[in-house]
Amino acid sequence: MTMADVRTWTAVCEVATVPKAFGVAALLSGGEQVAVFRTEAGEVYAIGNIDPIAGAAVLSRGIVGDAGGVPVVASPIYKERYDLRTGACLDDESVSVPSYPVRVTDGVIHVGSA
């Protein structure tokens, strides 16, 4: 509980703004870029938007799907897949992106600082 208290939450958009199996980019108050996704099942996740391999802020524009049931996004640059829950890269263990806590309040998605 104490951790949650020091977190800064940024309101991103209404859930309805993000169609299922889709992503959007958002800017956190600290200037970090996050990619916010809604899966086919309706779950909402947020991970860093910058593809660590390509060095470009593009992950929100990747295709959302699953790999053996794990929710993933595939980078639109070279197609590496990232676990939406943890930010781990499934295709290259040496890289990962930060993952961010998410909560939905009154139909609005909020992303917390990492």
Partner: protein
């Protein structure tokens, strides 16, 4: 000091000899002088009949036949050798050029046999041996056509070469007669039963066959030819081609006093040495222990044997005799003959299955105990040739009648029954054992890998169908599953969507797949839905509803993502034709939005460095100026390049720009398994590089030649000629069918070139399907294309007109209008270039 090797003649075998000597002679001990009568370097004479249609002699070139850059080889063309002075070891050419030799190889080949028919030298009588012969036949045919609208031709000779010539005449638009003295066609290869069926099949192809009769006289008759046959038939002809066999060109050797055989040919021993120790003979002119061989493969073997002796001093290799087995497609009819086809072995038995309904004739020759295969003949369907020929001399795995009979399932023998030493690829001499070793030891698990590794299937291609069978027999599963969510291949999903009219991905995966999809299956299904939308009633715009989430980022933002996450914009410029006003708009837009500009290879202009939120603003300007999406971002038709064509060019014979514009407008927006590129050239000079395209069109003075399945890229491939001299209407029909057939059946991300490579039956099958309509699907393919054309709408206009779609083009959902802080540019050559995160530009040398 090097020694001099003189090679007389410059055919395929001569070329192989020079190559083999050069390959083994690392120290350059030999200087090679090749003296040739023909005006051009060695070419693929075996493929001579393919010259008809394209009339492109460069397509027959053998690689390296000019010996450019090889200082050890001198090639003198167009000057035949007139005599050999064996005592002085000097040869003299017709032009008087003298050349001394330390070793001399005669590779003069053979000449066409012309029976001593009165009138055989009349104008209009030809032989069938060299490119120049075909040019002359073509000229005569065209002259006749210009006088009478049609040319009538006949071929004397119904053997292999005669039927080749008949095919050439047919490809030139004639309905030829074939005159064969023997009671059947191809008397050497097939027996009476096979010959009868062959005659029936060939006659079904507009060829009139006269067997058991000869040509007794040819006379001139009112500017044409009248051929009188022994059986009383008279034929009115414009031209007549003698293609009745060949004879060794041994006159030079006779004059020089070398031993020649009773039936001609320079007598050589099993190491190809003549009666003079300094002189060798190879190829069709050589009578190896009395026998001349009219095939290229034994000639190549002789060339290798002589090269080993000269370059490596190795005389261990001897001529092993030749496998005269043949498998051919003559006039579209399969004919194969192998081993002891005529059952000359004592006590041999013949097992014949003659299926008049199916149009097949199959005969196996077996030993008296019926266990050992000795030979056979296959007419009409030679698919079992690949498994039967390697078994000659071995024990048959079953009862011979059941192997070739319909009762045996017609499947012949499985690959498992073949011994390891069985030769699978006879062009490159690759055995079953070598192929299975490549599969099991070098982990070649696909057909393309096997081809690259073993060279099997890279010659005539007839054994390619064996490769997947060998993969399966080695336990390699050739999985067609698209991804973990679908066990079906792309082509199967296409059929499911077409048949069940499923219009959404979610319905398709719920019924036919599992999970929620991925970056492989989603764009694949999106592409199929887009290709079929007007037929199945799916959403028309690729960003409508659920479809938007299926698209790759390029399709999703209708622009091409570049490495820093910005996009490039390519408006359509059909055929590369653009007005100055539009050109100015492109410059203004680029300047206003600060975009890097570059001319593409497809004759249009690419504008780089646009951010997501800039795209709609850029496109509003472009659409207002009359531009539309160029689909550079899609697996779709890209451009139809063109040369300037007959409207401006002094050499153009058709309006290539007009055709390119028409084709680009017809097929724009067509989604396909991979990108599609095209080009139209206005004459044979081919300035538009159409043969490097998925479908390329080259103008002729009579219409258009259509080439298919070429590409540039990592594995360049020239497109193959599919149809020649077609008119505008037929051209478009054929392209409609071709594209729709490809879209239906190709794998994901499979360009047309590799699709054709894997298509069973290859180009012949493709032609059967889309030209001859053998599967009866052409009307359906044309309808699907007509629906596409009727329903085309500009995708970018569709976005600009729809606020919901426009809303997606935003940098940050919670801060629209804020530029992405990670995107920055630097300047070079007066334009901006991207700077990547954490990869700062190195100043100084201007490179990053």
């Amino acid at each position: 000091m090097s020694r001099t090797l003189v090679v007389v003649g410059n055919g395929m075998v001569s070329h192989r000899l020079v190559e083999a000597v050069r390959a083994e002679d690392g120290h350059g001990a030999w200087r090679i002088v090749v003296l040739a009568e023909e005006p051009r370097p060695a070419y693929d004479r075996v493929g001579l009949s393919s010259y008809v249609g394209e009339w492109d002699a460069t397509a027959l070139e053998l690689s390296g036949s000019g010996y450019d850059g090889d200082g050890h080889v001198e090639l003198r063309l167009g000057d035949a050798v007139a005599r050999i002075d064996r005592e002085a070891k000097v040869v003299t050419t017709e032009a008087g050029f003298e050349q001394s030799y330390d070793a001399l190889v005669l590779a003069t080949g053979s000449y066409p046999f012309v029976p001593p028919v009165p009138g055989r030298d009349l104008p209009g009588c030809f032989v069938y041996r060299a490119i120049e012969d075909l040019d002359a036949i073509r000229a005569a045919a065209e002259q006749a056509r210009s006088h009478r609208g049609r040319a009538a031709g006949a071929v004397v000779g119904g053997g292999l070469l005669g039927l080749e010539a008949a095919k050439a005449l047919r490809d030139m638009g004639m309905s030829p007669h074939v005159i064969e003295m023997a009671p059947r066609l191809m008397p050497i290869q097939v027996d009476e039963g096979g010959g009868a069926l062959l005659k029936r099949l060939v006659e079904g192809l507009d060829v009139t066959v006269h067997t058991g009769t000869s040509t007794s006289e040819i006379v001139e008759d009112r500017g044409r030819l009248l051929a009188k046959l022994g059986n009383g038939t008279e034929l009115d002809l414009d031209l007549l081609v003698f293609s009745a066999g060949i004879r060794p060109r041994d006159q030079l050797a006779r004059d020089a006093g070398l031993d020649v055989g009773e039936r001609g040919g320079v007598v050589v021993d099993d190491r190809c040495r003549t009666s003079d120790p300094s002189v060798y003979a190879v190829g069709e002119v050589a009578a190896v222990e009395g026998t001349c061989y009219g095939l290229v493969a034994p000639g190549y073997t002789m060339a290798e044997i002589v090269a080993a002796q000269l370059a490596a001093g190795n005389d261990a290799a001897t001529f092993p005799g030749a496998d005269l087995s043949t498998k051919l497609k003559l006039l579209g009819v399969d004919v194969a003959s192998f081993g002891d086809a005529h059952a000359t072995t004592e006590g041999s038995l013949e097992v014949v299955v003659n299926d008049a309904v199916a149009g097949t004739y199959k005969k196996l020759v077996v030993s008296d105990d019926t266990k050992t295969l000795l030979g056979g003949i296959l007419v009409g369907d030679a698919s079992e040739y690949n498994t039967l020929r390697p078994l000659v001399g071995s024990e048959l795995p079953g009862d011979p009648a059941s192997i070739i009979g319909p009762a045996g399932g017609g499947g012949g023998i499985g690959v498992d029954a073949l011994p390891d030493e069985a030769q699978i690829c006879s062009c490159n001499n690759v055995t079953k054992g070598q192929i299975t070793a490549a599969i099991t030891e070098q982990s070649c698990d696909t057909v393309p890998k096997l081809k690259a590794c073993t060279s099997a299937g890279t010659g005539c291609g007839s054994c390619v169908t064996m490769l997947p069978k060998l993969l399966t027999s080695c336990g390699v599963e050739v999985s067609k599953a698209l991804c973990e969510h679908f066990t079906q291949s792309r082509a199967e999903l296409f059929e499911i969507i077409a048949a069940t009219r499923v219009t959404t991905f979610s319905e398709l995966i719920a019924k036919h797949g599992k999970g929620s999809g991925c970056a492989i299956c989603k764009p694949t299904v999106a592409s199929i839905l887009a290709s079929m939308a007007p037929v199945i009633g799916a959403d028309r715009h690729i960003l409508d509803g659920e479809q938007a989430g299926l698209q790759d980022t390029n399709d999703h933002f209708l622009a091409n993502m570049q490495k820093n996450g910005t996009y490039s914009v390519v408006p359509r410029v059909p055929g590369g034709e653009i007005t100055p006003e539009k050109l100015i708009v492109l410059g203004e837009v680029a300047s206003e939005f600060g975009l890097y500009t570059k001319i593409t290879g497809g004759q249009r202009i690419d504008l780089f460095g646009a951010t997501v939120d800039q795209l709609p603003h850029i496109w509003q300007r472009l659409v207002d100026a009359g531009f539309e999406s160029g689909h550079a971002y899609g697996k779709a038709l890209r451009t139809v390049k063109s040369c300037v064509g007959s409207t401006w060019c002094r050499y153009g014979v058709q309006d290539s720009v007009g055709m390119a514009v028409a084709l680009e407008l017809r097929y724009r927006g067509l989604r396909s398994p991979h990108k599609l590129k095209s080009a139209v050239s206005g004459c044979a000079r081919e300035c538009a590089e159409a043969r490097g395209k998925d479908f390329g069109i080259i103008a002729t003075d009579k219409g258009w030649n259509l080439y298919v399945c070429g590409n540039g890229g990592m594995t360049p491939r020239h497109a193959d000629l599919l149809a020649s001299d077609v008119d505008d209407e037929m051209l478009i029909k054929l392209i409609d069918r071709f594209l729709m057939f490809y879209i239906r059946t190709a794998d994901r991300l499979q360009r047309t070139a590799s699709w054709l490579e894997e298509l069973e039956g290859g180009l012949d099958h493709l032609r059967e399907v889309i030209v001859d309509d053998k599967l009866g699907i052409c009307a359906e393919l044309e309808e699907a294309m007509a629906a596409h054309v009727a329903n085309y709408a500009d995708e970018w206009k569709g976005v600009l007109d729809d606020p919901d779609k426009l809303a997606r083009f935003t940098s940050f959902v919670n801060a629209p209008g804020t530029p992405d802080p990670t995107i920055s540019f630097r300047e070079e050559r007066e334009q901006k270039l991207p700077v990547l995160l954490g990869i700062p530009a190195v100043t100084g040398d201007g490179r990053s």
